[in-house]
């Protein structure tokens, strides 16, 4: 654990008895009180996560918008100031470099929030393709990030700020907001499928913000939540994880993210290959699987047809506490994607029956 990178909240995690693990070179808590309890807190009340390991890259300059638009699948020109967009950065062959959030400060200033494990790769990729009139700055080390998620997230944060959080709609943000006296960028975004916010602040103030939020949320049943709960929540809500549902070898179309891949926009890396995939018909697609037989499907387990031929593999799998079933995402041959189709997952050499299920497994009722 000594050689690992530590977030500004490392000491807080130890004091809360977080079970620390090596997560892509970062020392982070996989859980505090227990994954099931933490998932339930976020679904019913609220949870707070340290996501300071995420990477942050600033894109500035006259050419910032058009260049960024040439690097990602979604249409950056449709973003207004104060809005956030989910997008994917692709290789020319349609494989994924990373998925990211794009915050528009102005037409010539954007913040990219990228996966921790991909930050160095993304930084290199962006620099290799950097256009005219564009400046890049990797500010990952100067930014701490907390996520407060769950139906009571707004109530908890509102108690610590004068900013009217109702005014921050889904996938919008405000800058220079004081929360518990700490200067934050705050967005109504998250990775749990619940309402909630992500707060970015200076590392030196992250501890104070964390402690104040924990204290403010205690009466409402807010719990500190680890990586285990985060992964379970995102998986239940149908949110992709790089290296699982999308990767160097799995395109965003195959991974079920076609909504974020626009073709009626200027050229971008991967556009031609993705268009060819779409027009030629996808050979494989992401589906949900719900186990009929007892057993837990896990990433990389083979998916078989009735005759035992492999027709795909599991990308993420787990017991889902919210739907109370063993479920999986799987990338399967397009002939087997209709809901209700019987497929089998090979779990430790045993073939367990499953049914194709519509994704996501969990969807909250209303969105702000």
């Amino acid at each position: 654990m000594e050689d690992l990178k530590k977030t500004p909240l490392y000491q807080e995690h130890l004091e809360l008895n977080g079970k620390m693990v090596d997560f892509g070179g970062w020392a982070l808590p996989v859980q505090y009180s227990g994954i099931l309890e933490e998932v339930e807190a976020v679904r019913k009340r609220a949870g707070i996560f340290d996501v300071s390991h995420m990477g942050e890259i600033m894109v500035r300059g006259e050419g910032a918008m058009d260049w960024l638009n040439s690097m990602v699948t979604n249409d950056v020109t449709r973003l207004a100031d104060g809005q956030v967009m989910y997008a994917l950065m692709c290789y020319p062959d349609g494989g994924v470099v990373d998925d990211l959030l794009i915050y528009r400060f102005s037409g010539r200033e954007f913040l990219l929030v990228v996966n921790a494990a991909n930050t160095d790769k993304d930084w290199q990729w962006l620099n290799e393709h950097k256009g005219e009139g564009v400046e890049l700055e990797n500010i990952s080390a100067q930014v701490a990030q907390l996520a407060v998620q769950g139906p009571l997230a707004q109530k908890v944060i509102q108690g610590l700020t004068d900013e009217n959080l109702d005014a921050i709609r889904f996938f919008c943000f405000a800058r220079d907001v004081k929360v518990a006296g700490v200067n934050c960028l705050i967005s109504r975004t998250g990775y749990t499928g619940e309402d909630g916010f992500e707060l970015y602040c200076a590392p030196a103030e992250a501890g104070k913000l964390w402690r104040e939020l924990l204290a403010a949320g205690r009466a409402d049943g807010l719990l500190p939540c680890g990586l285990g709960a985060r992964d379970t929540l995102r998986f239940e809500a149908g949110l992709p994880l790089y290296g699982h549902e999308i990767s160097r070898d799995i395109s965003p179309l195959e991974g079920g993210l076609g909504f974020f891949v626009k073709f009626k926009k200027a050229d971008y890396l991967g556009k031609e290959a993705l268009l060819a995939q779409k027009e030629g018909g996808l050979k494989r697609r992401l589906v949900g699987l719900t186990m009929v037989d007892k057993g837990v499907p896990r990433a990389q387990y083979p998916v078989l047809d009735a005759e035992g031929n492999q027709v795909g593999f599991v990308t993420s799998g787990s017991f889902s506490p919210t739907v109370n079933a063993n479920v999986a995402n799987a990338l399967v041959d397009s002939a087997y994607t209709e809901a209700g189709t019987a497929l089998w997952v090979e779990v430790r050499k045993r073939r367990l029956e499953a049914r194709v299920t519509k994704l996501p497994f969990y969807k909250r009722e209303a969105k702000k």
Partner: protein
């Protein structure tokens, strides 16, 4: 960490209760704490013959599957069917209602390698 005096222990964090030529096996409090919430238990069938060191059960936590290795050689004579409906018993009562299986020891099975409670406590201290 709860380590009952009347049980034997292995380096794989299992406990064994010896009663004549029958032994009951489960995982220790330390092991359940390390695994986190158990959501599914895969048990052997009664009548299965198991060699010491073989995986005889699988405990699935939310995030991962963990094999449980047989601490002895023998025949499975009983399994804890309550775990099918309530796998969390392994977490809440690892030395009691969370037991996994009962084995009838193979002929000439030697239990002298198993640790006492004191030895296991010492072993845990060295792991930290």
């Amino acid at each position: 960490m709860n380590i009952p005096q009347d049980l034997k222990y292995t380096k794989e964090h299992e406990w064994i209760r010896v009663e004549g030529n029958r032994v009951t096996v489960g995982i220790t409090d330390y092991a359940q704490d390390q695994l986190g919430d158990i959501v599914f238990v895969e048990l052997p069938a009664v009548g299965d013959e198991v060699e010491s060191g073989d995986g005889f059960a699988v405990l699935e936590s939310v995030k991962a599957a963990a094999d449980v290795y047989a601490p002895v050689s023998g025949t499975v004579v009983e399994v804890n069917e309550d775990l099918e409906d309530d796998p969390a018993l392994v977490n809440t009562d690892p030395y009691g209602q969370g037991w996994l299986a009962v084995f009838e020891l193979a002929e000439g099975e030697d239990l002298s390698e198993l640790m006492t409670a004191e030895e296991y406590q010492q072993f845990l201290a060295e792991q930290e």
